[in-house]
């Protein structure tokens, strides 16, 4: 039998192997440790190496693109040595990055060409007034208005009572030099109006920051960005759990709670408490400036329709009752003090427009920041939280729907589920021969539970390795003690008690599988119904944009394997992070973006999923791994075949 010489770079001492040897075996012989979390099945791509010289035969190249193969990349566990070769082992962190590159958080760029003069609706002007005299007996208010009209050209000026009593003092303290804060609104294309937001004595330097805040009120998490409206720069990004959680985890329980005596006010106060605290925190985070919440003059708020109702203290009960009509999709602009928001009392609070009871301003803002409404290509936009909201379309049309996926992807409703925080298992690999799992824990310590991405990963691995069948039934006759009869029927032990933080087994039960299956089926069914509603095949989607905090951690491959995401080439998927707060940020900065948001809200066609059977049909066919129609998931079919192949070798 032929023998070949194998050299490794950076370890250059050659080893001699027999023909038919895998690179990974040669590496072991050379004393090198190449990570292979999937147990050498050619599935995880972690054992990637580069063959610099010589030839190998690829048993499986599932993880590699054509370009990769041309460049000599090979999976060490899948490549059979067929000549003398030189193999380079890339540094491990580079591999991590290679696999994770699309998962890094996006930095917030200031929209190009931002200038407060042309884009900002909240303006600060320092003006000088001529002092009154025995000759000039004009009252202070008229004097101020006249000056605004004369110097700035604005005619319809509204001044709230709370500011009128501030004017005289400011004028005199500043020796008739004052700085005014105006919100410039448009009644229609031609008619403008201005609202006085504040008046301060003296002159403020042009370069001094002017503070605004973009807020996304999520059912679970509230996010706030503190922004200097003069430069557009985001100075602080903070997020905290929505304090309303203690009164119910999902929107429906909140609506029902709000319907009880005093419930509405309580929920409003809870979310305001969260926001006000975030505002304090954000102000403290700002470097080089001393900022107080009272210095914030403008707030743009995104959030789902229920959150918006509760934020404004409007009863939300009709949102849950058929035919699901909210009190408003677009609230009027209000002053902060009307609801008790701890900013400047007359700060402009702009609640962004929504579309329907279950497609709110978080989604329109998401569409804005993701640019779906300007796209030439057919685009699918997805925001996964407790609800899965999605938008399909391009610059020509937009259709949207919401499906209740349940909280499984947020780690709730699953026995060992948890949020994506320290101690959560975020990725799992299962060896297809031993059924032993390897996993990665956020923060690196002992695992406490499994978060959404970990659950997806676990489900995909259990499916691919045959621990569960396509219907999610655990197979009891496999040679492993990890599958056992538990409280809810069969379960799989992911972590034995001794390795777990709590000292108890971390298990994945049949009920958990069902909950996850339902969640993923609801989302995929949503895609399908949207596509069907406009008669386009789902496969023709040219880009998939994923928003929501969850999106950041989503593993595309695993998500496709379980049939959560459509089986499209990986490069069509992009993660955008929290698109809602980003959209609110754009709307906060730029009045043109704000207008575009109105257009988006008016253009989006809402598809009510409970109106007919098509959702139910799509849901039932998606309630399978990956799908009842396997031809919709060719890559998964291929992956399964290749595993069967590698098992038979």
């Amino acid at each position: 039998m032929a023998e070949y010489k194998v050299r490794f770079d950076p370890n250059t001492e050659p080893v001699v192997v027999k023909s038919g040897t895998l690179i990974i075996e040669a590496a072991k012989q050379a004393g090198l440790d190449i990570l292979q979390p999937c147990g050498g099945q050619g599935r995880c791509g972690r054992c990637i190496v580069q063959v610099m010289d010589g030839t190998v035969r690829h048993r499986s190249s599932l993880r590699l693109s054509k370009e990769d193969i041309q460049a000599g990349y090979a999976l060490a566990c899948q490549s059979i040595i067929e000549s003398d070769i030189l193999v380079r082992i890339p540094e491990q962190d580079k591999i991590e990055r290679r696999l994770m590159s699309d998962r890094t958080a996006l930095e917030i760029e200031i929209p190009p060409g931002y200038s407060p003069e042309y884009k900002q609706s909240l303006r600060r002007f320092s003006i000088q007034l001529s002092p009154p005299s025995y000759e000039d007996q004009t009252d202070d208010l008229t004097r101020l208005k006249k000056e605004i009209t004369l110097k700035l050209g604005y005619r319809n000026i509204f001044i709230p009572l709370g500011l009128i009593n501030k004017i005289s003092q400011a004028l005199r303290l500043g020796n008739w030099n004052v700085t005014i804060f105006l919100h410039i609104g448009e009644l229609d294309d031609r008619m403008k109006y201005v609202q006085l937001v504040d008046i301060l004595p003296g002159i403020i330097a042009e370069e001094d920051p002017l503070w605004g805040a973009a807020i996304d009120i999520g059912t679970t998490t509230v996010t706030l960005w503190l922004v200097d409206l003069m430069t557009g720069k985001v100075h602080a990004q903070v997020a905290e759990y929505n304090d309303q959680i203690r009164r119910g985890e999902d929107v429906i329980s909140r609506i029902i709670y709000a319907d009880k005596n005093g419930g509405l006010t309580e929920l409003q106060q809870l979310v305001l408490g969260t926001i006000n605290e975030l505002m304090e925190t954000a102000c403290k985070r700002v470097k080089f400036h001393r900022v107080k919440p009272e210095d914030v003059y403008k707030v743009s708020v995104a959030g789902n329709t229920t959150m918006m109702h509760l934020f404004l203290g409007v009863p939300a009960n009709n949102i849950r009752l058929s035919p699901f009509i909210p009190s408003f999709n677009q609230a009027p602009i209000i002053y902060a003090k009307e609801i008790g928001l701890k900013t400047h009392p007359f700060a402009i609070v702009d609640c962004l427009p929504g579309v329907a009871s279950y497609v709110g301003a978080d989604i329109t803002a998401g569409v804005l920041s993701a640019g779906v409404d300007l796209a030439d290509q057919l685009t699918l936009f997805l925001d996964v939280g407790t609800n899965g909201e999605m938008v399909l379309g391009s610059k020509e049309w937009l259709v949207t729907c919401a499906c209740s996926a349940g909280p499984a992807f947020e780690g709730a409703g699953v026995q060992s589920g948890m949020r994506a925080t320290t101690g959560a298992i975020e990725e799992v690999w299962i060896n297809s021969n031993t059924y032993e799992p390897t996993y990665r824990v956020i923060g690196g310590g002992k695992p406490r539970g499994i978060c959404g991405s970990g659950l997806i990963s676990l489900l995909a691995e259990m499916f691919i390795t045959g621990l569960i069948d396509k219907a999610g039934n655990l197979n009891p006759s496999l040679p492993t003690n990890r599958v056992r009869e538990g409280e809810h029927g069969l379960e799989y032990v992911v972590v034995w008690a001794v390795e777990a933080y709590s000292g108890e087994d971390i298990v994945f039960t049949r009920v958990d599988v069902d909950n996850l299956l339902r969640a993923k089926a609801a989302i995929y069914a949503g895609f399908l119904v949207l596509a069907q509603s406009v008669g386009v095949p789902l496969e023709s989607t040219e880009q998939v944009l994923i928003g929501g905090s969850f999106g950041k951690y989503l593993n595309i491959e695993k998500s496709i394997q379980i049939g959560l995401l459509p089986d499209l080439p990986w490069e069509r998927f992009r993660f955008l992070g929290n698109t809602a707060v980003k959209g609110a940020y754009y709307a906060l900065l730029d009045k043109h973006s704000r207008k575009r948001l109105d257009e988006i809200a008016s253009k989006m066609t809402y598809i009510e999923l409970s109106a007919d059977n098509s959702f139910y049909e799509a849901f039932m066919s998606a309630l399978f791994l990956p799908h009842t129609d396997l031809s919709k998931f060719p890559s998964v079919e291929k992956a399964m075949k290749s595993i069967q192949y590698s098992e038979t070798i």
Binding site: D469, K470, A471, N473, S477, E617, M620, T628
Partner: protein, 324 residues
């Protein structure tokens, strides 16, 4: 003036499934039943082939049933307490094959034992040469406990073992594979569920030509429209080439129609319901005909008169081949 009538030409066809094995093939049956093979929607002979006629099975039990309508008891009289005699009577009544359903409890109210079940099956096989379908009592544990020994004791007979359901199919499929039998896969009135179960079963390695699918249909007035449309959709999918739906369909209009008030109850019902016996037979027949016309290949009936009527209808529907 000739008119061009649009014809559907389908790429797919229903699989052919043979139930029962002759002595030369390792069984003891005097005949076999072959169903499936259609390349068209039901009875549209002008569009495609219908090589095998749909068949009628008569449902018998391993002992006198507790809850059957008195009308059925009257029809079968004293054979009902002896599965062997009942099998012979069913054969005489025109059955193409037999369905033997096992009771959960025996005569004494104790769980039916594997031995009792095996001996009931053997007595039926000895009494009648017709191919056989055996249904367990319909509870996962009991089904598995009874069907495995039956399967082993009748190796090679190509019996159809039922009922495979999505939560309980592994044991039955495994024993059918090991002992050269077939299985019946039952799902709840849904195209996707039916297809999913077929995938699960075939993933275990049982060839598709050893599976019948039972889409569950409901009786006339009790959801038959869902069954009707699910079957039409399954058959259309099969003809369009979807492999996992290309299985012959078995339906149980006898069971469906005889469990409902219209058939079970003779007194205290509205006068507008008409004559009890005629109504009950009508109910079973109409349920069967509706399912026959949406694609049923095996119809499991209970009353001999319904068997007669359904068989006559099948004759007429099949003979139309000569008329076009």
């Amino acid at each position: 003036m000739p008119v061009e009538i649009p014809k559907d030409k389908w790429p797919g066809s229903v699989r052919t499934v043979t139930i029962g094995a002759l002595p030369k093939d390792g069984g003891t049956r005097k005949c076999t039943v072959t169903v499936g093979g259609e390349t068209t929607m039901p009875f549209l002979h002008y569009e495609g082939e219908i090589p095998n006629r749909p068949v009628v099975a008569i449902e018998i039990m391993d002992r006198q049933p507790d809850d059957w309508s008195p009308l059925l008891a009257e029809a079968w009289k004293d054979v009902m307490d002896d599965p062997a005699k009942w099998a012979v009577a069913a054969e005489q009544a025109g059955a193409d094959l037999l369905v033997l359903e096992l009771s959960l409890n025996n005569r004494n109210g104790e769980p039916t034992t594997p031995d009792e079940a095996v001996s009931a099956v053997k007595s039926v096989l000895a009494a009648s040469g017709l191919p056989l379908i055996v249904f367990g009592p319909g509870q996962a544990e009991a089904d598995n406990a009874l069907l495995v020994p039956i399967s082993e004791a009748t190796k090679g007979e190509r019996i159809v073992l039922g009922i495979c359901e999505d939560k309980n199919y592994r044991t039955i499929v495994a024993t059918a594979m090991a002992n050269d039998h077939l299985v019946s896969a039952r799902t709840a009135m849904d195209v996707n569920l039916a297809k999913q179960l077929n995938i699960l079963i075939s993933d275990m390695g049982l060839p598709l030509d050893r599976i019948l699918m039972d889409p569950t249909t409901g009786a006339l007035g009790y959801g038959i429209e869902y069954g009707f449309s699910v079957m039409e959709r399954l058959r259309l999918a099969a003809l369009q080439g979807d492999k996992m739906t290309q299985l012959p369909m078995i339906v149980t209009p006898g069971y469906e129609a005889w469990k409902i008030k219209e058939s079970k109850v003779g007194e205290g019902v509205p006068e507008t319901w008409g004559d009890w016996l005629n109504r009950a037979i009508n109910w079973e027949t109409l349920t069967a005909i509706t399912l026959l016309e949406s694609g049923a290949d095996v119809l499991v009936l209970r009353h001999p008169e319904s068997v007669k009527r359904v068989k006559r209808a099948i004759d007429e529907l099949m003979s139309a081949k000569e008329l076009v």
